[in-house]
């Protein structure tokens, strides 16, 4: 459930950015990079900081 919540949070942010800056969602490569940062690197960094 925690993983799902992280993905949903990442999706909401991606959609909001995409709606206002449509260039952001023109590439699957950008999306993959964003997803790596949002659901893997950031949560991992936050866990290490705790």
């Amino acid at each position: 459930m925690r993983t799902l919540a992280i993905y949903l949070g990442a999706a909401v942010i991606y959609i909001v950015i995409g709606v206002f800056f449509v260039d952001f969602m023109l590439s699957v490569v950008v999306a993959a990079g964003y997803l790596l940062i949002a659901v893997w690197l950031v949560p991992t960094a936050l866990e290490r900081l705790r």
Binding site: V19, L26, V28, L35
Partner: protein, 239 residues
């Protein structure tokens, strides 16, 4: 043309074919027909110079033009080359499946594809308007106002129905063992990163479907027209 179907269809095939296919070439195949042409259809500006096809429809789907990239023969040829160069039958077959899915999906619009190239007949159902020639934004607005976006929605719903293909367990059991590319990549990226990359196309297709829909109908006020060949407010291209 389709906007999100090409991101989502590979997961549906994956669900049914399991270990018989490799996901990476399947996804590459699904993107392949538009990989080197889409930017020139819409046009880009590089160092102040605008690069755009004079006749985007002819360039994208026609002959003379790059329409042959949307043919079954082209998919077979690239699949064969991948098989022989990489020595991987599963890469070749998976590429062909992804590529053919793209070609068949694009027969849904008003231009269609030359499926049986060198025969230059365009197979087209005419279910939704092809509007690539109008530029990226009008094309997006038209696509997300017509039957095309409903076709994408089918794949999103199907993907959610088949949610197990997106799980870590499924990745470990079916995706990773089917293709040595993953174990090679695992030397650089931890498993959790690979799983994230595996899910990326589904994330991308679903999120941008929602975002473009909001953009077209909340931020802007483009009218929906889900009738066959719609939306009627855009100048749909034909072969």
């Amino acid at each position: 043309m389709s906007w999100a179907a090409h991101d989502l269809e590979p997961y549906a095939f994956q669900r049914h074919l399991g270990l018989k296919i490799a996901f990476v070439p399947l996804l590459i195949g699904s993107y392949a027909p538009d990989l080197f042409t889409k930017w020139f259809v819409y046009g880009i500006t590089l160092f102040g110079i605008e690069l755009k096809a004079d006749d985007p429809v002819q360039f994208h789907r026609g002959w003379p033009g790059f329409g042959f990239t949307h043919s079954l023969l082209f998919g077979l040829l690239i699949g064969f080359i991948l098989w022989k160069i990489l020595g991987s039958w599963i890469w070749g077959v998976s590429f062909v499946i992804g590529h053919w899915a793209h070609c068949l999906t694009d027969t849904g619009d008003t231009v269609g594809t030359m499926l049986l190239f060198p025969w230059t007949f365009h197979f087209n159902l005419g279910a939704w308007a092809y509007a690539g020639q109008t530029g990226r934004f009008t094309d997006a607005a038209a696509y997300f106002s017509g039957p095309g976006c409903m076709w994408d929605l089918v794949w999103i719903v199907y993907g959610l129905f088949a949610w197990r293909v997106l799980t870590t367990e499924y990745f470990d059991k079916h995706i990773f063992p089917a293709d040595s590319t993953w174990s090679w990549a695992n030397r650089l990226i931890p498993r959790i990163g690979l799983i994230t990359l595996y899910r990326a196309a589904f994330f991308y297709g679903t999120c941008r479907w929602i975002a473009w829909t909001i953009w077209a109908h909340v931020i802007h006020d483009y009218p929906y027209d889900l009738s066959w060949g719609g939306p009627d407010w855009v100048d749909a291209a034909t072969p």
